[in-house]
């Protein structure tokens, strides 16, 4: 095992998939010679050639539509969308076709493919590059949605997604592409879809989060530990299907919940988690479930990015609210 960054974990996952499964192809804008705008596919074109790692024209519906057709005809495509903010031209192909081809053909064409997209803010990217619209996809029956927040999970979830027979939206928190480091297992390493990760155990408050908000939650948990409040931190990492068991067990233990996500509040995944806890652990709650989220405003240009995204102060306030309720 070697210590790597999150984006290296993603890269390793793709490399392993290309090595072990000849059906796997990578396609997208600038993924070839250039290795992707974030270098996620660095060296793959050189190693596997232009029939496995393919630069495409600049057309997201074309990329995803092609990937679906390839899946129908026996390949296992990994399609890269350069930024989540630019996934919308492909929305119809994803929602109308990838998500339901299995149902529509009664299992004949499961549309086994992976769509990768960097998402979220925090890197002072140009306008419209920082969307966090994961719940649009979580809402669509037939799709699985995952978000890694560690290098090992990046590789493990990617390989699980490639192996999974259903279409998987694999979202990459670009803020922590290089800031998070950790050991990554060699060879084929899978992290099962549908399993959350408890990165810190605690008794008093459950912090539920994913993606780039995981390091923030961890930092808050550490700070509160000094004040005698122990937080359990759950990295959901599989947004659909959810690991209800892990989440509910934690809530039953702590009775207090703070959900942190970068996406806007209304109909964000926090709302679904709140409903889930309400349905399954209502009687264990000691305080209202509290959400710390992006505001319900269009994701701003980066000058105001920090005002938009959850930060330590807002999470602290939520923790103090639920612990003093």
């Amino acid at each position: 095992m070697a210590v790597k960054t999150l984006i290296q974990g993603i890269h390793d996952g793709m490399r392993e998939a290309l090595r072990q499964d000849l059906r796997v192809v990578v396609l997208g804008e600038d993924v070839g010679k250039n290795g992707g705008v974030f270098r996620a596919t660095e060296g793959l074109w050189q190693e596997f050639g232009e029939e496995r790692v393919m630069d495409t024209p600049l057309a997201e519906a074309g990329i995803v539509g092609a990937a679906i057709g390839m899946a129908v005809n026996g390949l296992r495509p990994i399609a890269e969308i350069q930024f989540m903010g630019f996934i919308y031209p492909a929305f119809e192909q994803i929602v109308t076709h990838a998500a339901r081809l299995r149902t529509r053909t009664q299992g004949q064409h499961p549309a086994s493919l992976v769509i990768r997209a960097p998402y979220g803010g925090g890197i002072r990217a140009p306008e419209l590059h920082s969307d966090s619209t994961e719940s649009l996809f979580v809402h669509i029956p037939g799709l699985k949605v995952v978000v890694p927040s560690t290098p090992a999970d990046a590789k493990g979830l990617l390989l699980a997604a490639v192996k999974d027979p259903d279409p998987v939206i694999y979202l990459e928190p670009m803020q922590i592409y290089r800031s998070v480091k950790g050991e990554v297992p060699d060879g084929w390493h899978e992290v099962p879809l549908g399993k959350a990760r408890v990165l810190r155990e605690g008794e008093d408050v459950t912090l539920i989060t994913w993606g780039a908000m995981v390091p923030l939650a961890e930092k808050c948990a550490q700070a509160w530990a000094g004040r005698g409040i122990s937080c359990e931190v759950i990295d959901v990492r599989s947004l659909y299907p959810l690991d209800e068991e892990t989440i509910i067990a934690s809530v039953k233990k702590t009775g207090r919940v703070v959900i942190v996500h970068e996406a806007p509040k209304t109909a964000g995944l926090g709302a679904e988690l709140t409903a889930l806890i309400n349905e399954q652990a209502f009687l264990w709650l000691e305080a209202p479930i509290t959400r710390v989220t992006g505001f319900d405003v269009p994701v701003p240009m980066f000058a105001l990015e920090n005002a938009f995204r959850p930060d330590q102060e807002r999470v602290d306030r939520a923790i103090s609210y639920v612990t003093s309720f």
């Binding site: 092609a66 679906i68 057709g69 005809n73 053909t105 009664q106």
Partner: protein, 369 residues
């Protein structure tokens, strides 16, 4: 590739049933059975289509998209394909689907609102009808790309209408196919209307074919009511695709004789004289029948017995579709994912409680809501 000026149209069989000089050569290259097949399939497709419209009027199927008038475009192109080719149809391609091996009963089931109608028998490479316009095109392109990467000789064909050429998916698919020289055929049935909107409102170019040229793919405009020309043009394009020559855009100029669907009334937006000309003077089936009769390949008795035979087959399909046992409500959940996650299993349970047992027979716990 055929050299065409912008508005030329490949035509081998004139509306009056006489072959052009070029047409005589092509016709001469067909066997007796091939010639008869062109006609027989068109008749079967037309009789099926007419029966389906009646079934809709009787309330036995849902809203249906009739194809009458487009038989030559569908039959000519579908007969030029091989079993290994991938077909991505729109919602009007019943003729194509049945030639590719989709059972008539499945086609009817689809219009009865039954998802089983989407399933193709083993070895039949027909995807379900694509309802959102033009979305099948990038997928056909992707399937063709996979064939090319795997070095297989199969090609993919996308069927779509003139309205589809305004959608982004049309342009993206054509562009990729041109860039990567993919073995895909884009087969446009230009029936001149997208519901009520005429092609002149759809496009400032007067042909679809010239759009393909902008993407560097050979593009052919063919008389879509001339089954021989459609067959030949498609066969040529297919051969070129299999030999590494890449994609072709085929514009088959045709006409939808009926309404857009059984829920539409085309008299609201089409000139009756225009319709009359297409129905009375340019009908694809009549044209082929006249040729075959003159060649002594068709007699009145033969026509009558073939029509009988088709009607019988169609009746059997209607019976089979109407007899096909509806799946239980829990079938909703069967193919959403390969393995249902716990949340979906719980939702399935909720439905079971409402409906009774998984087959709807008995309620395991009637007290539960």
């Amino acid at each position: 590739m055929l050299q065409q000026t912008r508005h030329d149209m490949v035509q081998y069989l004139r509306p009056n049933g006489w072959l052009t000089d070029e047409g005589k050569k092509v016709w001469g290259g067909l066997s007796r059975e091939q010639k008869l097949d062109l006609y027989r399939w068109m008749v079967k497709v037309r009789l099926f289509d007419r029966r389906a419209v009646i079934l809709q009027r009787q309330g036995r199927i849902g809203t249906y998209a009739p194809l009458e008038g487009q038989e030559a475009a569908q039959v000519g192109s579908a007969l030029a394909l091989g079993r290994e080719d991938w077909i991505f149809p729109s919602y009007r391609e019943h003729g194509v689907s049945m030639i590719a091996g989709m059972p008539l009963a499945h086609i009817l089931l689809y219009w009865m609102g039954r998802v089983e109608g989407n399933t193709a028998p083993e070895g039949v490479r027909v995807l379900p009808p694509y309802v959102p316009i033009a979305t099948q095109m990038p997928q056909a392109m992707g399937a063709a790309w996979a064939s090319k990467l795997k070095r297989e000789s199969s090609l993919a064909i996308a069927y779509f209408g003139d309205g589809a050429t305004s959608e982004g998916d049309f342009h993206e698919a054509c562009n990729f196919a041109g860039v990567f020289q993919l073995p895909v055929l884009f087969f446009c049935q230009n029936n001149q209307y997208a519901i009520s909107v005429p092609f002149s409102r759809q496009s400032a170019t007067s042909t679809v074919a010239e759009k393909g040229q902008a993407y560097g793919i050979p593009s052919v405009r063919v008389d879509g009511n001339d089954v021989l020309a459609v067959y030949h043009v498609t066969a040529e394009a297919a051969e070129r695709a299999r030999n590494g020559g890449g994609a072709t855009l085929i514009e088959a100029v045709t006409y939808r004789q009926g309404s857009h669907t059984t829920a539409d009334d085309a008299t609201r937006y089409r000139d009756p004289e225009e319709v009359r000309i297409w129905v009375e003077e340019r009908d694809p089936v009549d044209r082929c029948r006249r040729l075959l009769e003159r060649e002594g390949l068709l007699s009145e008795e033969y026509i009558a017995s073939w029509e009988e035979c088709c009607k019988k087959e169609i009746q059997e399909a209607v019976d089979a579709a109407e007899r096909a046992k509806a799946p239980p409500p829990t079938h909703l959940f069967n193919h959403v994912f390969e393995t249902l996650p716990p949340s979906l299993l719980r939702q399935r349970e909720e439905l079971v409680r409402k409906e009774g047992g998984p087959d709807g027979s008995e309620n395991p716990d009637p007290r539960h809501p």
